[in-house]
C-alpha cells in the first residue's frame, strides 16, 4: 500500500441499495494524485452506479467518501464539480443549441465591467485550454454541429476550466473511431502529466492496458481487486472480471439446429455496411460488438424499424421488404428492445394490458375485447414463466426488472413468432432471474424457434449463442461457430475492435520512467 499522502480520494464501504437490487456492496477503493485509474467490469457490475455516487447524482445507502483527507457528502453534480470532481457522462451534458464557449463556461461566465457575459475573455480562455491539450475545434460552432470526439473534447475542456482534480470518463471510447481514440489517449496523458486524476471506465481491456496505471475490477457490485496494471496480464484480468463458472447459469445448448430460416445479404442502412447473416431453425445467434458498432441498427433494420438502403432479407427463401415493424410482426418476427423502461413496458398499465397488447386482435370479438379471455391467457403466461406478481391488475412498473422482462417475454410468446429478436435480454436483472430467462430462451429453441440475441455482456454471448456475429463499425467482423469450439471473450473482443487496433505504448513503461 502507498502512503496516505498520495491518496486524493477514497471510497470507504460504500453500499447502494435500489428497490430489489443491491447495486453496490461494501465498495472500498482509493484514487491517487495524477493516476489514470481504470474501472472495469461487466454491464451491471456497478461501475456507473459508483461513478454516479462520486458525481453526486446518487446518494450512497451506506459508507463514506473521503476526499483530500476529509469526509465528503455530495449533494448533486454541481456540488461535486465545485469540489473539483467532474464527470463526463456517456450521454454528454452539453447544451446542443449553445456554442462551445458558452457551454464551457455555462453558469461560470466571466463578467465584463458592466456585469455582462464577457464572451471575448471566455473565448480566449477556451482557446488556451484547447491549446494545452493540443486540439483545435471551432469554438463558435454550436454543439449540435460537432462530431462526437469534438463534443467529448468540449466536456474535457469544461472539466479543465473548473480546475477539476478528478475527471471521470464513463466509457468514453464507446462512440469513437480508432483515430479519435488515440487522440483521446493523448489528451489523457497530458491531463495526467498535469497531475490530474483520471478515472477511466471501460470494458475494453486493450484500452485499460494501454492507458491505465491501476485498475479496479467490479463484479456484481463488489470490488474483486485493485491492481497495478503492470502486475496484470489479460488472462488474469478477464478471470477477475468474469470469475464465474459459466456452466452454472447457462443451460446447455440444444442439439438439433435445422435449416436456414432467415437470410440477409449485403444489408445496408444508415449505420450498417453490407452485413450478411443467416439464422437457422432452433438456434441462438448472438450479436456482439461494442456500443455504437451497429448491433441494434442491424436488428432494427431486419425488422423494418430502420429502413434498409440496400441488400436483401429473405424468410425461408422468400424475399421480404418490411416498411415498418408491423409487417415484420405479421411475418413471424417479434422484438424485445433493450430499453425496457421507454420501449418495453407501458408503465402505468396493468400486467394484463402489457401482456396482450401485441396480439390484442386474438381477444377481440366484433371490436370488443373479451376481458375474460385475455385475463385467462395472462394467468397462464404468469404460471408458465413463473412471473412473480401480486395480481394481474397490478401496474407493471411496480414489478422488479426481471419480472417486467418476463411479462415482455410473455407478450412475445403470445404472438407465436418463429423468430425472436431480443436486445439485451437480461440488462439490469439479478442473477437468479437471468438464469430463468436463459432457460426460457433455451426452451424456445428446443421447440424449433430461432433467436437473435443482441448483448453487450460477453459471458452471456458466449454462454448462450450457437453462433456469434461480431459487429465492428457497422460491418460484420466475423461469425464464430460455437459448435466447433467455445470462444473466449478476448477472441470476440479482438474481432469487435479490429486487428488494426493500435494503441499508444502502455502505462507501465511511463510509470517506470517517472
Amino acid at each position: 500500500m502507498m502512503n496516505n499522502e498520495n491518496i486524493l480520494l477514497e471510497f470507504m464501504n460504500i453500499d447502494k441499495q435500489f428497490p430489489g437490487v443491491k447495486a453496490l456492496d461494501d465498495v472500498s477503493m482509493s484514487f491517487r494524485f495524477g493516476e489514470v485509474h481504470a474501472l472495469v467490469g461487466e454491464n451491471g457490475a456497478g461501475k456507473s452506479t459508483l461513478m454516479k455516487i462520486l458525481s453526486g447524482v446518487y446518494q450512497p445507502s451506506g459508507g463514506e467518501i473521503v476526499y483530500k483527507g476529509e469526509k465528503l457528502k455530495l449533494q448533486n453534480p454541481h456540488h461535486a464539480q465545485m469540489q473539483g470532481i467532474s464527470i463526463i457522462f456517456q450521454e454528454f451534458s452539453l447544451i446542443n443549441t449553445l456554442d462551445v464557449v458558452e457551454n464551457v463556461f455555462l453558469n461560470r461566465e466571466p463578467k465584463t465591467s458592466f456585469g455582462l457575459f464577457d464572451k471575448k475573455k471566455a473565448a480566449g480562455m477556451t482557446k488556451k485550454l484547447l491549446e494545452t491539450i493540443g486540439i483545435d475545434i471551432d469554438i463558435t460552432a454550436k454543439i449540435k454541429n460537432l462530431s462526437v470526439i469534438e463534443q467529448q473534447t468540449v466536456e474535457i475542456i469544461k472539466a479543465l476550466s473548473i480546475d477539476a482534480d478528478i475527471i471521470i470518463m464513463d466509457e468514453p471510447s464507446a462512440a469513437l473511431s480508432d483515430k479519435e481514440l488515440s487522440k483521446l489517449f493523448d489528451i489523457i496523458m497530458k491531463l495526467k502529466a498535469d497531475g490530474k486524476t483520471v478515472i477511466y471506465i471501460s470494458h475494453m481491456l486493450e484500452e485499460v492496458f494501454s492507458i491505465a496505471d491501476r485498475v479496479t475490477v467490479l463484479k456484481d457490485g463488489r470490488v474483486m481487486a485493485t491492481e497495478e496494471v503492470c502486475d496484470l496480464d489479460k488472462d488474469k484480468l478477464v478471470s477477475l472480471m468474469v470469475g464465474r463458472e459459466i456452466s452454472d447459469i447457462y443451460p446447455p445448448r440444444s442439439a438439433n439446429v435445422g435449416d436456414v430460416v432467415l437470410e440477409a445479404g449485403d444489408l445496408a442502412s444508415g449505420k450498417l455496411k453490407n452485413v450478411n447473416l443467416t439464422l437457422k431453425k432452433g438456434e441462438i445467434l448472438g450479436v456482439a460488438g461494442i456500443a455504437g458498432s451497429g448491433r441494434t441498427a442491424l436488428v432494427e433494420t431486419l425488422l423494418g424499424i430502420e429502413r434498409k438502403m440496400s441488400g436483401t432479407v429473405s424468410l425461408s427463401g422468400r424475399e421480404v421488404d418490411f416498411k415498418n415493424i408491423r409487417q415484420a410482426i405479421d411475418s413471424g418476427f417479434c422484438y424485445i428492445p433493450s430499453d425496457r423502461k421507454n420501449q418495453g413496458i407501458i408503465a402505468p398499465e396493468s400486467i394484463v394490458v402489457n401482456t396482450t397488447i401485441t396480439n390484442l386482435d386474438n381477444y377481440v370479438v366484433r371490436g370488443l375485447i373479451n376481458r375474460k379471455a385475455e385475463e385467462e391467457v395472462t394467468k397462464n403466461q404468469i404460471e408458465l414463466l413463473g412471473t412473480k406478481v401480486a395480481s394481474i391488475d397490478q401496474r407493471i412498473e411496480d414489478l422488479s426488472g426481471g419480472n417486467q422482462q418476463k411479462v415482455l417475454l410473455s407478450r412475445a410468446l403470445l404472438m407465436e413468432p418463429e423468430i425472436y429478436i431480443i436486445n439485451e435480454p437480461t440488462r439490469g436483472i439479478d442473477v437468479g432471474a437471468k438464469h430463468e430467462i436463459y432457460k426460457i430462451m433455451r426452451d424456445l429453441t428446443s421447440r424449433g424457434k430461432s433467436i437473435i440475441m443482441v448483448s453487450s455482456e460477453l459471458p452471456e454471448i458466449i454462454g448462450m449463442s450457437d453462433r456469434i456475429l461480431v459487429m465492428n463499425q457497422g460491418e460484420a467482423a466475423g461469425i464464430l461457430d460455437q459448435s466447433v469450439k467455445t470462444y473466449t471473450e478476448e477472441e470476440i473482443l479482438s474481432l469487435a475492435v479490429g486487428h488494426e487496433y493500435r494503441l499508444p505504448a502502455g502505462g507501465c513503461d511511463d510509470e517506470e520512467e517517472v
Binding site: L98, E109, D138, N145
Partner: protein, 320 residues
C-alpha cells in the same frame, strides 16, 4: 478553424430573406406602399405593440414555455389604463405607466408560479390564466373605456424630431432585451434551461428561478406593449388584445425561434413582427376582405409551423 455555414434556409436567416421579399412584393403590388407616410406607419409605428408583446413571447418560448394569456392581459391592462384616467382624472403619466407595467409583471408572476410551483404544463397554465383574466375584465368593464388624455397618448403619437416616439420606445426596449438575451449571463442560462433542463440543473443553474423570471419578463413586456396600445387607441377594452397570443406566436415562429425552446435569436421575432405588419398593411392597401386576411394569416401560421415543426417536435416530448 472551420468556416461557419451560412444557409438561407436557416430559420434565423430565412426570416430576413422573407422580409426583403415581402417588401419588394408590396412595393410592386401597390406603389402607395412606398409613400413615406405609409412606410413610417408600417415600419415605425404599427409594429410597436405586437413587437413588444412578441419579444415577451419569444423570451418565454426560448425558456421552454409558452404564453397563451398575452391577449387577455393586453385587454385587461389597456382597460385598466383607461379606467385609471376615468376614475382618477389628473393621474400622472408616470403613475399609469408604472401601474400597467407592474400589473403585467404580476400576471407574468402568476403564470410562472403555476408552471414552476404547481408544475402545470405551460400551455394549460397560461390558457387557464387567460380564462381567469378574460373573465375578470368583464367584471371590471363590459365596454371599451376611452378618454386617455393627450399627455399619455404622446407615447404612441408623439415625435422626437422626425422620429415617432413610440419607435424609440420599442428600439430602446428591444436593445435592452437583445443585450439581456444575447450578451448577459442570464441570457445563456435562459437558453440552457429551455434546451435541456437536466443539463442546466447539473451545472448549478437554478432552473425554476430562471423559468419564473422568463414569465416575469414576458409579463413586463406585455405591460409595456399595453401602455403603447392604450396610448394609440386612446383607451382600452375587453377585446383589444384579441388574437395577440396567436399573433405573437406566429411572429416568433416565423422569426426562427424553436417552439421546443432553447434555440433561435430573439431578433428574429422582430423580423416576424415586421412581416406581419407589412402583410396586414398590404392587405389593407389592396382592399382585401378582412375574412380573407384572416384565412391567409391562418395559412401563414400553418405554413410556418409546417416547415419548422419537424425539428421542433423531436427535440422534446413536449405536450400540447
Amino acid at each position: 478553424m472551420m468556416k461557419k455555414k451560412f444557409r438561407l434556409t436557416d430559420p434565423g436567416i430565412f426570416v430576413w430573406v422573407l422580409l426583403v421579399a415581402i417588401v419588394i412584393f408590396s412595393a410592386v403590388a401597390n406603389p402607395v406602399f412606398l409613400r413615406p407616410r405609409n412606410l413610417k406607419n408600417v415600419f415605425l409605428i404599427q409594429p410597436v405593440g405586437l413587437g413588444l408583446a412578441s419579444l415577451g413571447q419569444a423570451v418565454i418560448i426560448i425558456s421552454g414555455g409558452i404564453d397563451m394569456s398575452i391577449g387577455a392581459a393586453v385587454s385587461l391592462l389597456t382597460s385598466v389604463a383607461g379606467g385609471l384616467y376615468r376614475d382618477f382624472p389628473g393621474v400622472s403619466v408616470l403613475t399609469v405607466f408604472l401601474i400597467i407595467s407592474a400589473m403585467g409583471t404580476v400576471i407574468g408572476l402568476l403564470n410562472g408560479l403555476l408552471v414552476v410551483k404547481l408544475k402545470i404544463a405551460p400551455f394549460m397554465a397560461t390558457l387557464a390564466t387567460m380564462s381567469v383574466i378574460q373573465g375578470g375584465i368583464f367584471i371590471y368593464t363590459k365596454k371599451t373605456i376611452g378618454g386617455i388624455p393627450k399627455s399619455f397618448r404622446f407615447i404612441a403619437e408623439g415625435s422626437v424630431g422626425p422620429v415617432p416616439f413610440c419607435f424609440l420606445y420599442l428600439a430602446v426596449i428591444f436593445a435592452l432585451v437583445l443585450i439581456l438575451m444575447n450578451r448577459s449571463r442570464y441570457g445563456r442560462h435562459l437558453y440552457a434551461v429551455g434546451a435541456n433542463e437536466w443539463v442546466a440543473s447539473i451545472t448549478g443553474i437554478a432552473v425554476d428561478r430562471v423559468k419564473l423570471s422568463a414569465y416575469l419578463i414576458g409579463g413586463l413586456l406585455t405591460g409595456l406593449a399595453s401602455v403603447f396600445l392604450a396610448g394609440r387607441m386612446g383607451g382600452g377594452g375587453p377585446l383589444v388584445g384579441k388574437g395577440y397570443e396567436l399573433d405573437t406566436i406566429t411572429a416568433v415562429v416565423i422569426g426562427g425561434v424553436s417552439l421546443a425552446g432553447g434555440d433561435g435569436n430573439i431578433a428574429g421575432a422582430i423580423g416576424g413582427v415586421l412581416i406581419l405588419s407589412i402583410f396586414s398593411n398590404l392587405m389593407n392597401l389592396l382592399d382585401v376582405n378582412p375574412y380573407i386576411q384572416m384565412l391567409l394569416k391562418g395559412l401563414i401560421l400553418i405554413t410556418a409551423v409546417f416547415f419548422y415543426a419537424a425539428k421542433t417536435a423531436k427535440a422534446k416530448g413536449q405536450e400540447a
